[in-house]
Symmetry: C2
């Protein structure tokens, strides 16, 4: 029997996205965002509050990178969600992580996270009920060490993590459960 | 060293959302959607192609339910992503799953999936670069059997699955990796 658990955010899982930008002085800022998704194969929708340092930087440079947090850097990833770049200008430096400038967009790539998308801003959407940024993914880069022989990333090698908002915890990716567009064939 | 893996959809993980609606005759339709997320605590953004049966039904009834697929019904969940309700009117019936009408919105609740959100349509957004539906979550219901003593769902009890779009596979949720707003304290 089902019972109400209230109006909590109930989409599971959520990603742990590391959105990296430069400010007007070329200083790196990074935020931790769970409310981001593909809205096309090469396009993301990112729901960020309008006042975030990241929002300001995105408007300024029309660019960001979006990395997938990994277990090895969970402390840093979590910290990026705890501290505001508006209030703590040396937020990124405190982590000791490293960046290189993207070759495709005016945004930093954090070296330590294994998978990253290089994105340019397409549009800031503001409607009656939605505020978000829509970005185009120009390319996805991955550490060779997280790729399998087929050239595609392995989420276990990547140490990928996910956000469980029911419990405010991070979880690892579990086991293979089935193949998409395949398990359902039994019902065709 | 990072190398390009191309412009593939690279957000990981994605949810496996079961969006259920009624058509003009009260017939149940369900689709499988990975491109949905919270955009507020009680609001979802769902990126669905405009021609989907679900899109038509959402416009008609201004309501849907959004359930989290589980491992026990992965065959059915996957099937809902393989077949179009426009072309196969008895799509839902073929699965043998059961529904009850939501008490809060004009949409069906699939009994077999353990966690479900009852949603009303707020807005269909169509901008230059984004098409999506924004829905308000009126309530979330969960099977008592998937709740822990604290009243919150356990993703292992729920058999929650996620979508790995890099490999077109479903995965289970793994182990606890850390606490949000906690792991990062070491860097404050």
């Amino acid at each position: 029997m089902k019972k109400s658990i209230g109006k909590t955010a109930s989409v599971f899982p959520m990603p742990v996205l590391m959105i990296a930008t430069y400010d007007e002085n070329g200083k790196v800022d990074v935020m931790n965002a769970a409310w981001g998704m593909n809205c096309e194969m090469d396009r993301l929708t990112l729901c960020l509050s309008s006042g975030h340092k990241t929002a300001k930087n995105l408007r300024l440079n029309k660019a960001c990178t979006v990395a997938l947090a990994d277990q090895a850097h969970l402390k840093e990833a979590d910290y990026f969600g705890m501290v505001s770049g508006n209030k703590t200008p040396d937020k990124f430096e405190r982590t000791g992580l490293h960046t290189v400038k993207s070759e495709k967009v005016n945004a930093p790539i954090i070296e330590e996270f294994p998978i990253v998308m290089e994105c340019e801003l397409l549009e800031e959407v503001e409607t009656e009920h939605l505020h978000c940024f829509v970005v185009k993914v120009l390319d996805t880069l991955a550490e060779e060490s997280v790729l399998k022989e087929d050239g595609k990333p392995c989420m276990h090698k990547a140490g990928a993590v996910l956000f469980n908002q029911f419990r405010m915890t991070y979880m690892t990716a579990g086991q293979h459960a089935g193949n998409a567009w395949s398990e359902g064939k039994a019902l065709l």
